[in-house]
Amino acid sequence: MLLIHCPHCREDREEEEYSYSGEAHIVRPLEPEALSDQEWGDYLFFRKNPKGIHHEMWYHAVGCRRYFYATRNTLSYEIIETYKVGEQPQVSAQGAAQ
């Protein structure tokens, strides 16, 4: 059971209030029709699923109904940071942002 800080409610809230929504920062291609089946398939189906630092989306479903992003260590389940849509993570697999 995770405890997740909602950047909008500005509180640590229980996992029961949230639903997980997959990998963050996947940008939809602007011109899907210009992509080959393989390129479109990469966008559609392939995810990083890293061991370690992962940026992911959460939905505060039983709460403020906002989506936001979390940087989570998939090994320890530690949530290193949460941040709003439009913001960039401070921590990444390459190390902390300068």
Partner: protein, 1006 residues
């Protein structure tokens, strides 16, 4: 039987207040403050169970959660509870207890004849014997269960209630021994919200059995004062009888509180057990340590006990479990038991100390009392049947691995053992912290913390009382500070404590015997599962090397006691057999639960009517009054059909369907999801989400749309209406409402935040009464005079504001039956009023309420799909023959569009929606039936598709079905076959999926 072993010295029992109870049908007496175990020992009960594999008689060994043998069935009937440890059951008047194994009873056990049979059950027995043939497993299992006995589960419903509390605190202290109590006090003083939990009936831990003095008073009084002080803090919750059974992510712990078990089964008020779901900012583990047993031959005979348990029975409960005791120890600490026994007026035959020259202060005290100390020796074997009669004592070499002299036989009826202490590292282990071996304490200590916790006191390897208290105090102050309370300094002064200084203990994990381990009488490591030292060595000879594998192969530590006593000895024996250090061998990882947790507590209040929310429409009670049968649609309860008289379901559905097509029916459609959409970019956004376009939808107009996931597969469908400028109302399927709203929010919030549009669920706001059938207009006209209802004034796919039965309403002219239909929406608190007005208005047309089953039949007659029934997440609009709903000229590449061109999406032999008409029209295909082309083909047959919807149509007089069949759109007229599980094969013709009114004329009836 009388209480032959009762003393009058128990600090926590009142020997003048008697309690009656039964054990295996026998009337016995205990006293207030007893556990079932202390009462049984007071009554001189030796044998409390039979062992799992060998059916050997077993007695009480410990005094708490570590007890492997005294497993009891408590109570009878519906409220019976199996597999409770007698050491943890508080005695109450009328308690019924029975041992869970032993057949026909524990004292005369037929199974013990199979000490021979036991010889046939070496480690890995299950794997070796039960693999083949699989059929025999049931036979084996029956026999094994009877032989081994694991208690019997009640067959009736649990009469007790359970609940859960979601708790949040700054500091959670697990364990209320000396370290835990002072930790809680420091944290509380610093202003932290504190919860302190202990599995015992009262706080104090080891101090409850201690004769030490603290600050000049007896330890138990010091505890009483400290507990009273804690309870005076408003920011402290004290939870006795509460076991922290699991430590989960982000400092979340499960604590099981037994609230009424000690009052008797099925106490009248409140929950029996309460599950505390605790989220703590900081956790202090003060769970203490378990005394380590000594492994020698026949160490399982009743009368072999833990030394600290013997002291606990004497000092806390006032029970001396025997007369002539031998203490077998590897350390100074256990000498206290010899002193306690001596003071209780019973004979200490000898202290057998494995160390060659014990020289601690307490050793001298014992010797001054005249107690014989046999140094440099060990008890190598216990002898006796249902009770120890003598001990074989032999001199050992310096490291305790060999016998160096003559064996002496000493008569006794109790052997108290102490092999040192093992920290209770279970909860720290749950967090993933890797235990580390510490040679100085000869035990595993908690590893580096991976969560916001620390261990204090004995569970961290600190065994002196002063050390525990000092560590607890600093842990409490520190935890409070880290949780944002106080400055981290210890406030309360350190109490004055007199303790003996101790000399080093000896590591002794397996006491040698005159015979080799493999030939010696069994030297038990895990009593509950009958794992012996020779079994572990055998497993190593058979090639097992990893401690985790050995655990599973021998079943060591798998019992309800989870190896609290035996594990360390077992690992050390394993390490020795592998010729490596304990450190190299490592320990198995403890996982939740620490001790057995009832299913009742895990379920909590979420049972019966509260199992899952049932959502009702505002008309629900009217449906109930009409005798409707209900169907679950998600969490909603929807009327399924309305049987009249003694009608069967089919009769009711036939009647309802005919009524709709011939006159008028009424359906409660309130459960459909409704999402209010507003904003300057609303039309653009909706157009990106649906396959068709909404850019030109005018106010007052509706359009049917299909929503795809990005993979091109149908995900939801429904009508979307333009309410006004930049304002739309989207209908979703009943089950899809929450998912669609989250889906819209996902795209708007994360992908297109620049699009200005807001979504609000308005599902619950509206009651939707759907009236449908050729007389629908006439019914509506009777209760609505401000909407022009003529066909051309209020057209199909229009909606209007108006007043229905005096209530402001939105009326949609859309249709899911193919008939003239009005969906009348009013705010839900008017729902029942408007519904009843429509029923009254429709009386002259015999308006017929119908349920979801008729709704399904009527739409299937029209070939309308139901998302989730005819689709399964792998169907495109083209598969459903719904290419017409896909906008070809939309400028924006709507969600899922690109995927419709993927090679797999345009494949010719995709499963496609068709109608099926059985050759024999009275036969109704089962939904889910597989479709094949060649009924004669050998199994496995080539499956070509499956039936998605199937009904008997009373309007058509024959059965109808929808199916998805590979390449089905090109197979009209082909005969296909559905082989059924009952052996029949039903032939059907592929037909159009529209069975009724293919031109769609009926909805435009004048």
């Amino acid at each position: 039987m009388s209480q032959i072993n009762r003393l009058n010295t128990g600090a926590r029992t009142d020997s003048t207040s008697r309690i009656n109870f039964t054990y295996n049908g026998k009337q016995m007496q205990g006293v207030v403050g007893d556990t079932l175990a202390s009462a049984l020992l007071a009554n001189g009960v030796n044998v409390v169970g039979r062992s799992f594999k060998y059916s050997r008689p077993r007695g009480i060994v410990g005094h708490g959660a570590e007890e492997p043998n005294a497993i009891m069935q408590i109570g009878s009937g519906a409220a019976t509870v199996p597999n409770l440890k007698a050491t943890q059951v508080e005695l109450y008047e009328g308690l019924e207890s029975a041992s869970v194994n032993g057949w026909p009873n524990v004292n005369f056990d037929l199974m013990s004849i199979t000490g021979w049979f036991g010889r046939m059950m070496p480690p890995g027995f299950y794997y070796k014997t039960f693999m083949y043939p699989a059929k025999l497993w049931m036979t084996y299992e029956h026999f094994i269960r009877k032989a081994a006995g694991l208690g019997s589960a009640p067959v009736q419903d649990d009469p007790d209630s359970y609940d859960k509390l979601n708790q949040h605190c700054d500091v959670l202290v697990v364990g209320a021994g000396p370290a835990g109590l002072v930790a809680a006090r420091e944290a509380a003083r610093a202003g932290a919200r504190v919860i302190i939990a202990d599995e015992q009936s009262e706080f104090g831990g080891s101090l409850l059995a201690s004769i030490n003095s603290i600050d000049g008073q007896v330890a138990t009084s010091w505890v009483d004062e400290l507990v009273a002080e804690l309870e005076s803090f408003s920011n402290v919750q004290t939870l006795p009888r509460s076991t922290a059974f699991g430590y989960y992510d982000h400092n979340f712990l499960g604590i099981l509180q037994r609230r009424t078990d000690h009052l008797g089964i099925s106490a009248d008020s409140g929950s029996r057990q309460r599950l505390h779901r605790v989220r703590a900012k900081r956790v202090i583990l003060a769970t203490g340590a378990f005394e380590r047993p000594l492994v020698f031959a026949q160490n399982d005979i009743p009368g072999v006990m833990q030394a600290s348990s013997v002291s606990t029975y004497i000092n806390r409960y006032g029970v001396a479990p025997g007369n002539r005791m031998i203490l077998f120890t590897t350390n100074d600490n256990a000498y206290q038991t010899a002193i306690d026994w001596h003071r209780a007026g019973r004979a200490v035959v000898a202290v057998v100390d494995s160390r060659s020259a014990p020289s601690g202060e307490i050793v001298a005290v014992a010797q001054e009392m005249g107690i014989r100390v046999i140094a440099g020796s060990g008890v190598i074997e216990a002898q006796g049947g249902k009770r120890v009669r003598r001990a074989l004592v032999a001199p050992l070499n310096g490291d305790g691995t060999e016998i160096t002299g003559v064996v002496e036989k000493l008569a006794c009826d109790l052997i108290a053992c102490s092999g040192g202490w093992s920290p209770a590292i279970h909860l720290s282990s749950h967090t993933g912290a890797k235990p580390v071996w510490d040679e100085t304490i000869i035990g595993f200590k908690p590893g580096q913390s991976v969560q916001k916790e620390r261990s204090a006191g004995a569970c961290g390897g600190t065994y002196s009382l002063a050390g525990c208290i000092a560590e607890g105090a600093s842990a409490g102050a520190e935890a409070a500070k880290l949780a944002g309370c106080g400055d981290g300094t210890v406030h309360f002064p350190m109490p004055q404590i007199k303790e003996f200084s101790e000399q080093p203990a000896q590591a002794l994990f397996l006491v040698p015997h005159t015979k080799a381990t493999s030939r010696a009488p069994s030297q038990f490591v895990d009593m509950q599962l009958d794992v012996s030292a020779s079994g572990i060595e055998l497993a190593v000879r058979e090639g097992f090397k990893s401690v985790e594998h050995i655990k599973r192969y021998t079943a060591m530590g798998f019992g309800t006691d989870q190896g609290k006593l035996g594990n360390i000895n077992g690992m050390a024996i394993l390490a020795n057999a592998l010729g490596q250090s304990i450190e190299q061998t490592g320990t198995t990882i403890f996982r939740p639960s620490y001790s057995p947790t009832t299913f009742g507590a895990i379920a909590g209040a979420d049972v019966g009517a509260l199992f899952d929310p049932e959502r009702y429409t505002a008309v629900h009670r009217w449906h109930q009054e009409q005798g409707a049968a209900f169907e679950d649609v998600g969490q909603w309860k929807r009327p399924w059909y309305f049987p009249r008289g003694g009608e069967s379901m089919q009769d009711a559905v036939n009647r309802e369907c005919l009524a709709v097509r011939n006159s008028v029916g009424i359906l409660d459609a309130s459960t459909l999801g409704k999402i209010d959409i507003q904003g300057p970019d609303a039309a653009e956004f909706i157009t990106r989400m649906y396959t068709n376009s909404y850019l030109k939808l005018a106010p007052g107009k509706c359009r049917y749309g299909v929503m795809l996931k990005e993979d091109g597969m149908i995900f939801d469908d429904g009508v979307c209406a333009c309410i006004g400028d930049n304002h739309y109302l989207m209908f979703t399927t009943t089950g899809g409402a929450a998912g669609v709203l989250a889906w819209l929010e996902l795209w708007q919030q994360t992908e297109w935040p620049d699009l200005q549009v807001y979504f609000t669920s308005v599902t619950d706001h509206w009651t939707t009464a759907t009236i449908t059938g050729p007389n629908a207009r006439k019914v509506l006209a009777k209760v609505c005079d401000d909407i022009e209802l003529a066909n051309d004034a209020f057209q199909f796919m229009d909606w209007r504001d108006g007043t229905v039965a005096g209530v402001a309403a939105r009326v949609f002219r859309i249709s899911f039956t193919g008939e003239l239909t009005y969906e009348i929406n009013v705010p839900a608190h008017y729902g029942r009023h408007v519904w009843e007005a429509l029923i009254a208005a429709g009386e002259e047309f015999d308006i017929t309420p119908y349920g979801t089953e008729s709704m399904h039949v009527l739409r299937a007659e029209k070939g309308f799909i139901i998302v989730g029934q005819d689709t399964d997440g792998s169907m495109t609009p083209a598969d459903m023959n719904m290419d017409w709903v896909v906008g070809k000229n939309k400028t924006f590449s709507f969600i899922g569009k690109r995927s419709l061109q993927r090679s797999d999406s345009v494949r010719k032999n995709r499963k496609q929606l068709v109608g099926l008409k059985t050759v024999n029209g009275t036969q109704v295909l089962p939904e889910g039936a597989q479709v094949v082309f060649d009924p004669e083909q050998k199994i496995p047959m080539s499956m070509q598709g499956h039936v998605t919807s199937s009904y008997f149509s009373s309007n058509l007089g024959h059965s109808i079905a929808l199916a998805v069949v590979k390449g089905g759109h090109g197979l009209l007229g082909k005969t296909v076959y559905c082989p059924l599980a009952d052996g029949r094969t039903i032939a059907a013709e592929i037909v159009s999926s529209v069975f009724y009114d293919p031109k769609g004329e009926r909805q435009n009836v004048e």
